[in-house]
């Protein structure tokens, strides 16, 4: 059952990714992107990672779709990019090379669910055994995020806050941003 769901959802993902590339209208592209991340988060649920699915659904389907729609509404005076034909070999080669590098890197990973893998051997053991005593937080994930990696979380919050202020400043302008479109034949 899970194998069937995985396979079909992955096929849907692939088809959606190609459709995103083929669609010429930007609004349709944004809708397809929302669909894509909905698919990814369903896949995360099937793969037994509900917290990741939560984040993906909230950020991918919710916030980023709305942000892209707002951006499209702000730059509606033209956004065609010049595309020269015959320059597609290099990007294709580059992405193939990067993909094969990633697959090459996967070879070194420990086996799925391996209890001897480094991730379960070092700090995780300490967190599980002494986390409640040291921090007093009953939830282990919260203890790690808010106490052991408190400065890291503070930095992340600062980054998100700065990005949010920037987005609000850009979108809150009374004047819409007018981008001059350049045509190919000029």
């Amino acid at each position: 059952m899970s194998l069937l769901l995985n396979t079909v959802l992955l096929v849907f993902l692939l088809v959606t990714a190609f459709a995103v590339m083929r669609v010429k209208v930007l609004l349709a592209m944004v809708m397809l992107f929302g669909l894509y991340s909905l698919l990814v988060s369903s896949l995360f649920v099937v793969l037994d990672a509900p917290d990741v699915a939560f984040t993906e659904a909230a950020v991918g389907t919710g916030i980023s779709t709305v942000l892209m729609l707002v951006t499209l509404a702000a730059v509606r005076h033209g956004h065609s990019a010049p595309i020269k034909p015959g320059k597609r070999a290099l990007p294709l080669l580059l992405s193939l090379a990067m993909g094969s590098l990633v697959i090459f890197g996967i070879q070194d990973l420990p086996a799925f669910g391996d209890s001897q893998s480094p991730a379960y051997q070092q700090v995780a053991k300490h967190y599980i055994e002494k986390g409640v005593d040291e921090t007093g937080v009953p939830n282990l994930v919260t203890a790690v995020l808010a106490s052991y990696r408190g400065f890291d979380t503070l930095g992340e919050v600062t980054v998100v806050l700065t990005a949010g202020i920037g987005v609000l400043l850009l979108l809150g302008r009374r004047e819409k941003v007018h981008l001059k479109a350049r045509r190919n034949d000029e």
């Binding site: 397809l32 988060s41 659904a57 509606r76 033209g78």
Partner: protein, 100 residues
């Protein structure tokens, strides 16, 4: 067995919604297709929750349905306000916008 039949039925309806999102001649078709796909994703998550016996997955189904509603309302409001072309066979170029 019952779960398998229900899962296959969900996958087929998901495929149909995807097809409408890809070919949909107008933007509204696509928005409706995405909404329907979101509903099917909610059903799929609920199915997985009952299949695997994990009731906490139902929270995710609730979140999906909330997000689905908010996303569709936001998209429709922006389509209304941003004066996008509802038909997809017009390329969005400045010249065509001036002609309208």
């Amino acid at each position: 067995m019952l779960y398998l039949v229900a899962g296959i039925a969900f996958l087929i309806t998901m495929a149909l919604a995807l097809a409408r999102a890809f070919v949909g001649p107008t933007v509204f078709d696509r928005i409706l297709a995405v909404n329907m796909f979101g509903t099917k994703a909610v059903l799929l998550v609920a199915l997985i929750a009952f299949f695997s016996g994990r009731a906490d997955l139902l929270d995710i189904a609730l979140l999906y349905s909330l997000l689905n509603f908010i996303g569709v309302v936001a998209a429709l409001r922006l389509v209304e306000r941003g004066r996008f072309y509802a038909s997809t066979d017009h390329p969005e170029t400045p010249e065509e916008e001036q002609q309208r």
